[in-house]
């Protein structure tokens, strides 16, 4: 079936756009398609967008031998110039506010604005991490309440709140495992990780001092339990398993995997990046998991902000809880909340492996995450998982006739649908599909991940897409795939309607230009 195209627009290079058809503009802008110089090319020395009340000639006597020779060579801009610069730049970005952002494994869902509002309450945004505990009881209560939700939603014994992002949470979990074995006088050297795992898993395991060995997969895209059992030994510190996995499938044998790992004295780390598919439907703690990070910026909707900040609390089993990092919140005898830091560790946390970050984690994400959780409640969170899974299966079934779906027969997918480019004609690849989707006005799916599927395309719609929105996305995806099937060479030039055409990544890597030196050249 070829995709109908209600707009009547037929993609072809000839009609689109070369300079011969469209007039050149003196500004370089084209209507609302705006170009923007670097701030350094706009500003000038002596300008400033901040008025200061104080007299400029302040005494600096004591500092004389330390003074900076000249102020940092950074031009100033006035407020209207700054507003315009960044507003124009923002127009060159795609965001979830503009349309579906179906990056598999990344969970780009709607970011509720209530969460932004509450995070900015001065009682949260304008408090210092080292204020006396008596003056921050509400903030400690936020951490305590969120921690309680995370523990109950996962069925685990404890949670370490301080990790700064998912990969930092993985590190937290593995360091707990290392510390637990150290405490038992054991030095194990191997961590088992499936090849389909996020790159952070092996990178983290290597950092924590382990040798990484791959766990084979079954043809249906899941961990090969029998093969895993063969690999287990007294040298295996643990396994790192993503569940649901990066092929979008639930690991049916998770409990059996855990039992087998525990039987040789190892621990089970679960990469919880995909917890959004099972929240409220399944508690990882019931499956024998010892540690799992939760990306608040995925499951619990805190904004990704163009690459962070994240937040990666780690839920822990009874066995690992004593080793959790400092600081953490606890309620003391008089009913008040206290932060357990180095000074109190000997009494409250003698086995803690120590501190991972300067302060207590991502408070600004905790407030947002808690507001999201309270808004949904236990019933809404269950609905979140159901709608996310429903949406992904809808996309899978709507496209599997046209695009290879390697695990379409492995049972329902969870929150994401996996396709590959193996059915496309020679010369057409996943990259073309992704860039074609940009011209259709959509952010592409995750491409070339997981590595175990050649030319992978991982589509995660999330629960915050409407059916109509999904239908539009499916229509466009089918249209782009059909162009490839028709061997439409113009697809290789896509995108042509974006602020930039394909960028030369080879040049960027061969001759890196990482800072602006326009005022220093020549």
């Amino acid at each position: 079936m070829s995709a109908p195209n209600p707009s009547g627009w037929q993609p072809s290079l000839g009609s689109m756009g070369s300079e011969s058809v469209e007039p050149m503009t003196a500004s370089g802008d084209r209507g609302l398609m705006l170009e923007e110089p670097l701030s350094f090319e706009l500003g000038s020395a002596g300008k400033c967008g901040v008025d200061m009340d104080e007299p400029d000639e302040a005494p600096v006597s004591g500092l004389s031998s330390f003074l900076r020779e000249c102020a940092p060579e950074l031009p100033g801009l006035t407020e209207p110039e700054v507003i315009r610069h960044y507003s124009r730049l923002s127009r060159m970005n795609y965001g979830i506010d503009l349309g579906p952002f179906p990056l598999g494994s990344c969970t780009m869902k709607h970011n509720p604005r209530l969460n932004e509002k509450v995070a900015r309450l001065p009682g949260f945004a304008d408090i210092h991490p080292l204020q006396p505990h008596e003056t921050v009881q509400g903030a400690l209560d936020v951490i305590e309440q969120l921690a309680d939700w995370l523990i109950r939603l996962t069925g685990m014994a404890a949670v370490a709140m301080s990790p700064k992002a998912g990969a930092h949470g993985e590190l937290c979990g593995l360091l707990c495992i290392r510390a637990a074995h150290d405490a038992a006088g054991e030095r194990r050297t191997v961590v088992l990780v499936p090849e389909s795992a996020h790159g952070t898993n092996p990178a983290t395991a290597a950092f924590a001092g382990y040798k990484v060995e791959a766990i084979p997969a079954t043809p249906d895209g899941r961990v090969d339990l029998a093969a895993l059992k063969e690999q287990l030994s007294a040298d295996v510190a643990g396994v790192m398993i993503t569940n649901p996995n990066t092929c979008g499938l639930l690991e049916r044998e998770m409990k059996a995997i855990g039992d087998a790992v525990h039987a040789v004295g190892g621990y089970v780390y679960c990469d919880g990046a995909n917890f959004n598919a099972i929240v409220g439907k399944l508690r990882p703690g019931d499956l024998g998991i010892d540690a799992m990070h939760i990306n608040l910026h995925k499951t619990f909707s805190t904004p990704h902000g163009g690459g962070g900040p994240g937040s990666g609390p780690v839920v822990l089993s009874e066995a690992l809880a004593p080793f959790a990092p400092l600081p953490f919140v606890t309620r003391v005898a008089d009913g008040t909340l206290r932060l357990i830091e180095e000074g109190e560790a000997a009494e409250h946390a003698p086995e803690s492996f120590g501190r991972m970050t300067a302060f207590h984690g991502q408070m600004g994400m905790f407030t947002r995450g808690l507001a999201y959780i309270l808004s949904h409640g236990a019933d809404g969170l269950k609905q979140v998982a159901e709608d996310a899974v429903l949406n992904a299966n809808y996309v899978l079934r709507a496209c599997e006739d046209l695009l290879d779906a390697p695990f379409a027969q492995s049972g329902p997918c969870m929150h994401e649908a996996l396709f590959s480019d193996s059915s496309l004609p020679d010369g057409f690849s996943t990259l073309d599909i992704a860039k074609g989707l940009i011209d259709e006005g959509f952010h592409p799916m995750t491409v070339y991940f997981p590595l175990v599927v050649k030319g992978a395309m991982l589509v995660e719609p999330t629960e915050t897409e409407s059916k109509m929105g999904l239908d539009r996305f499916i229509l466009s995806l089918r249209n782009v795939v059909q162009r490839a099937v028709n061997a439409d060479e113009s697809l290789h030039s896509a995108p042509v309607f974006a602020p930039r055409r394909r960028l030369d990544e080879t040049q960027a890597a061969r001759k890196p230009v990482l800072v602006w030196n326009g005022d220093r050249d020549g």
Binding site: G95, V118, P122, G199, M356, H360, G364, A498
Partner: protein, 452 residues
């Protein structure tokens, strides 16, 4: 539920297309014994926006925020005025709700900001290059130590006694697992950092020396002299800046010989936020670029020859190099980097210098007033906006008493260095441009009252 667009009719229609009789069929891979039958018991159900806002506002009201009281805390997190422009711009949905710029054609906004940010950080630090951010100053510091180890192929790390106690804790916790040797000690209450002792502990096994600038006690170490001694042993100097506003006034570490400069960028644009999210800054010499951790944005051209930006040198990173990556970091502090960059663009270099002079003047005024109190002395001869005060009583008790009088007075050294004797009566106090004369007077009279 206000965030879920599917209607029951949609769900039924979609299930029919999928060929599933019910939603439960899509969860059939969960073994029935583990499948939760309904909403988890004992947890509240969904709530209206108004109800959630009320709940969160009540919690917020239980905190004494910095704006409600004379406020003098620092110790690695500083309160500066953030122009309204910053918060407006970072809430534009195209920035706030974008992902890591993996599709550069539709992420030029984020990418150009990162390129500008890297340039700003490099110029502030006096380094050749900078990356696109780390989690915070402490993790940036640990990553710098790891990087120095890769470059020098040595594993002994010397920390100056002026490095933030929590940064030292992070380093010690991580080093326990990497088997790096950490040479560290708690600070002594001396007016100047002991450069000769630090220099004396560098040997031919030393990978790097880590020096905070200004240091935890507010003192300013002689980086140039330290750099010479470090380089003479073939080691690298890592400078740590926890208060970047200081660099408006004092010389950039890169210009004094530091090889890697890391810092906490929270002071500009980000706010206190009870400790996070913050912004790890990371700059270094050009020749070390391929050993750098984290994301890096670079300039290039597109197929039509227009200037554009991409994430580059990705083969260092975990998503490609996996267990051989330079770091496991993935998500960093993108939106905080945007906030920093906007604030820096508003200030410009000269504005930052002026802001720094005002901070220093405020601190001088504060020191003058507080040291007029009987029994209170200032440790520092030289400082930027933060000093160590020595009191006649244990500082932690004094700070609690001040808090009861609604004065947020500082950070006690005994909280940062529990168990280290001789520091009990000392506390760090900071004055930024947000501190008024009235605040200083209120602080002084409350302190007089508490000490009386």
């Amino acid at each position: 539920m206000r965030y879920l667009p599917l209607t029951d009719a949609d769900r039924a229609e979609m299930l029919a297309l999928i060929g599933a009789g019910s939603i439960d069929e899509l969860f059939c891979d969960i073994s029935p014994e583990f499948r939760l039958p309904g909403p988890i018991e004992g947890l509240p159900l969904h709530a209206s926006e108004m109800a959630v806002e009320r709940h969160m506002s009540r919690l917020a009201a239980k905190n004494l925020s910095a704006g409600q009281a004379p406020f003098f805390l620092g110790a690695g997190a500083y309160r500066h005025h953030i122009p309204a422009t910053v918060d407006h711009l970072i809430q534009r949905g195209e920035f706030l709700t974008a992902y890591t710029p993996y599709q550069p054609e539709i992420a030029q906004g984020t990418l150009q900001v990162l390129f500008e940010f890297q340039t700003q950080v490099a110029r502030l630090f006096g380094t050749d290059i900078a990356n696109a951010s780390m989690y915070d100053g402490s993790t940036a510091c640990w990553e710098a130590i790891q990087m120095a180890g890769r470059i020098t192929k040595r594993d002994r790390v010397v920390l100056s006694d002026g490095l933030h106690a929590h940064y030292v804790s992070v380093i010690e916790a991580m080093a326990r697992f990497t088997a790096d040797t950490i040479d560290t000690r708690s600070p002594a209450l001396e007016a100047e950092p002991d450069t000769s002792k630090l220099v004396g502990s560098i040997d031919e096994e030393t990978s790097c020396v880590v020096v905070q600038y200004p240091d935890i006690l507010g003192r300013i170490p002689d980086l140039r002299a330290i750099a010479e001694a470090v380089h003479a042993q073939g080691a690298l100097l890592i400078a740590v800046v926890t208060e970047p506003v200081a660099l408006g006034l004092i010389e950039a570490p890169g210009n004094l010989g530091a090889d890697i400069v890391v810092g906490e960028g929270q002071s500009l644009g980000v706010g206190l936020q009870f400790g996070g999210p913050y912004l790890g800054l990371f700059g270094c010499r050009q020749k070390f670029v391929r050993q750098m951790p984290g994301r890096i944005c670079g300039q290039t051209v597109d197929a039509a020859g227009k200037r554009g930006f991409v994430l580059t040198l990705s083969t260092r990173e975990q998503h490609i190099r996996r267990e051989k990556a330079t770091s496991n970091i993935c998500t960093n502090s993108g939106l905080c980097a945007l906030a920093f960059s906007i604030h820096m663009s508003l200030l410009g270099g000269e504005g930052l210098a002026r802001l720094a002079r005002i901070n220093h003047a405020r601190a001088q005024e504060m020191v003058r007033r507080l040291t007029a109190i009987a029994g209170v002395s200032c440790l520092n001869d030289v400082y930027f906006n933060e000093v160590t005060l020595v009191l006649p009583k244990p500082a932690r008790d004094v700070l609690q008493a001040l808090a009861r009088r609604d004065v947020l007075g500082g950070v006690s050294l005994s909280r940062l260095y529990p168990g280290t004797s001789g520091l009990e009566n000392a506390m760090l106090v900071t004055a930024t441009e947000t501190v008024s004369e009235e605040d200083i007077e209120a602080f002084a009279s409350a302190l007089e009252g508490v000490l009386a």
